[in-house]
């Protein structure tokens, strides 16, 4: 038996050094691009932070608690916008969470045959595909004229509640909140539905076997078991609502002061402030807007990371 390798046989052909380094170069190249994509988040934060630096040095944390936004005096504070961002997002969650979870239950359980259920699932997803600016134009010409009489009625009958203390002037926080609710509804519905579908069939069968009705099973077994997914979906929806720009800018009225706590009054959000002022801004105003963008970035970052943690920490372990 020959001890030397037969190099003419294709079984024993050695790869050339070039081919081997090309191969490992390819693997490392893809890794480098993947790392670059991951680092993009940090690059965005650092760049926006750098441009915000003059405003951060001038106003410090006072930026967050001052509601004075005056381009003429060079005085900037974003409290009005932070307040508007939080209030519109809370209105949206208040409306969209019960409806979204209700839809998720209806479309995850066997209420309907799959042939009818699947198209409805798709239609609800389509709500998320409509561009924000289209919700905006629809809101201006269709929704606000419908909402306004209802807002006036709310003000006249429940005006003693601070939430409805001002007469609605067309656009306002309530209109922005309602459109936000429509826009985040598909996120809550889709993620909650995934969470409910992922609950093992054994749990349902065991509950039915013990004599529970369908809705006792849903409330006492499925919702607790799918809680992490639903909570994660709600958090993601909150992050989306806080950063949503166009529809809100077109419907909120863009008032840069807090006159009252009424949801019927006009207001602004951090995103709508950026949308309205960035194109014509100069000097310190650009820096102040970058500071506002950084605040919005931080708010959504916290919410999104919490969403990831909620999903990972509390996911159903079986």
């Amino acid at each position: 038996m020959a001890l030397t390798t037969d190099h003419s046989s294709p079984m024993n052909r050695q790869r050339s050094g070039f081919a081997r380094s090309l191969d490992s170069g390819f693997v490392w190249g893809t890794a480098a691009v993947a790392i670059a994509v991951g680092l993009l988040l940090a690059v965005i934060a650092l760049q926006v932070g750098e441009d915000a630096l003059p405003a951060i040095q001038k106003f410090g944390l006072g930026f967050l608690v001052s509601s004075r936004w005056s381009v003429i005096d060079g005085e900037f504070g974003a409290l009005t916008q932070i307040y508007g961002t939080i209030v519109t997002s809370l209105i949206a969650l208040f409306l969209a969470v019960p409806i979204g979870v209700g839809i998720a239950i209806f479309l995850s359980e066997d209420f309907l045959p799959p042939r009818i259920k699947q198209p409805i699932v798709f239609l609800v997803e389509l709500l998320a595909a409509i561009p924000s600016v289209v919700y905006g134009i629809w809101g201006i010409f269709v929704l606000i004229p419908i909402l306004r009489p209802f807002g006036i009625w709310l003000h006249e009958t429940l005006g003693w509640i601070p939430l409805f203390a001002t007469a609605p002037a067309g656009p306002g926080i309530y209109a922005a909140g309602l459109v936000l609710a429509i826009m985040i509804l598909p996120i809550i519905a889709a993620i909650s539905r995934d969470a409910m579908v992922a609950v093992p069939a054994e749990l349902r069968q065991a509950a039915y076997g013990l004599g529970a009705t369908r809705w006792e099973t849903i409330f006492q077994i499925l919702l607790p078991a799918g809680f992490s997914g639903i909570a994660g979906g709600v958090m993601l929806a909150l992050g989306r609502a806080m950063g949503e720009t166009m529809a809100v800018t077109m419907l909120i009225g863009n008032a840069n002061t807090i006159d009252s706590f009424s949801i019927l009054s006009q207001g602004s959000t951090v995103a709508s402030l950026l949308a309205n002022q960035f194109a014509e801004a100069g000097g310190l105003q650009i820096s102040a807007l970058m500071y506002a963008a950084l605040v919005l970035f931080a708010l959504t970052l916290v919410v999104n990371i919490l969403a990831e943690i909620v999903v990972r920490r509390f996911s159903l372990k079986l």
Binding site: A34, V37, L126, F278, L301
Partner: protein, 295 residues
């Protein structure tokens, strides 16, 4: 057993439910409520589509697609430059984001699967997809507009590229991961390198699904307004270079819908119709393609 026997239903141990018991009534009420919620959610979809169709059709003519926007207060004209600008910015975005997104996905799916590095990249990509599009616009403004000194199609393209990147990475990685492992093992067994296996076996098998993801990302980017608002900005004229302010359809809808002129508002509705049609057709096509593949 034939018809439910309500007399025996009350007996302990019976399997029949009494239709008037609180438990049954509660269940029925909740069922009705969940049906109501689902119908409620479909109202905005139908209403938006109906109004966009009703208001957009009146100006859906050749002039709308070929002419420049009318001066304030005048009728007629079109959004030809904005249509071209949308195609231009989206094309620039695609050229930037597709190579990066697909190559990163190759690492996540082929070489880094279940490694800590891939976990982190996945995590940051997920978080990136949650960054508000207006903040991405601010970033592109800082990087491109402030350094070049002008609003431009490139600035808009950079913003849209960042917006598209997470979608492309996620869908491409899923597409590559769904290629059966047998393919990889057979290829390596025949003596192919990892480079050959990836480029000649795994990638071609995943191309249709990757393209579906790219189509969805492009359609979504075309409808986005916030990232191009102060990067591509707006223009009443045709583009001669990619380094000048550029009109886009979505930005035109924003400007003209909030303008007090009926002629511009009509064009805004028609441009909305074009955007909605683009997104809906792409979504439905992508769904049909995916369904067929799963069969």
């Amino acid at each position: 057993m034939t018809a439910p026997d309500f007399a025996t239903a009350r007996r302990p141990g019976s399997l029949n439910r009494k239709p008037t018991s609180p438990r049954t009534l509660f269940a029925s009420a909740m069922t009705v409520l969940s049906i109501f919620f689902t119908l409620l959610a479909l109202i905005p979809l139908v209403a938006v589509l109906a109004y966009v169709l009703a208001n957009g059709l009146s100006r859906l003519d050749v002039a709308a697609f070929t002419q420049l926007p009318p001066a304030p207060g005048l009728g007629g004209g079109g959004f030809g430059n904005a249509l071209l600008g949308t195609l231009l910015t989206v094309a620039i975005a695609a050229v930037i984001s597709i190579p990066f997104g697909v190559v990163a996905a190759i690492y996540l799916s082929e070489f880094g699967r279940d490694t800590r590095l891939a976990d982190w990249v996945n995590f940051f990509t997920n978080v990136l997809s949650g960054v508000p599009s207006i903040v991405i616009g601010a970033f592109a403004y800082a990087v491109v507009v402030l350094t070049t000194g002008t609003f431009s199609a490139v600035a808009g393209g950079v913003a849209l590229a960042i917006l598209m990147l997470p979608t492309i990475v996620r869908t491409a990685a899923e597409a590559l991961e769904s290629v059966p492992n047998d393919f990889r093992q057979a290829s390596i067994g025949l003596g192919a390198t990892r480079l050959q296996t990836t480029l000649k076996i795994v990638f071609p098998a995943a191309v249709p699904a990757i393209l579906t993801g790219i189509m969805l990302a492009i359609a979504r980017a075309a409808g986005e307004t916030a990232p191009v608002l102060f990067t591509a900005s707006f223009s009443q004229y045709w583009n001669t270079t990619i380094w000048q302010p550029t009109a886009t359809l979505s930005r035109l809808v924003f400007s003209f819908a909030t303008a007090p002129y009926p002629g511009q508002q009509e064009l805004a509705w028609t441009a909305s119709l074009v955007l909605v049609a683009l997104v809906l057709v792409t979504s439905i096509l992508a769904r049909l393609v995916t369904q067929r593949r799963h069969k």
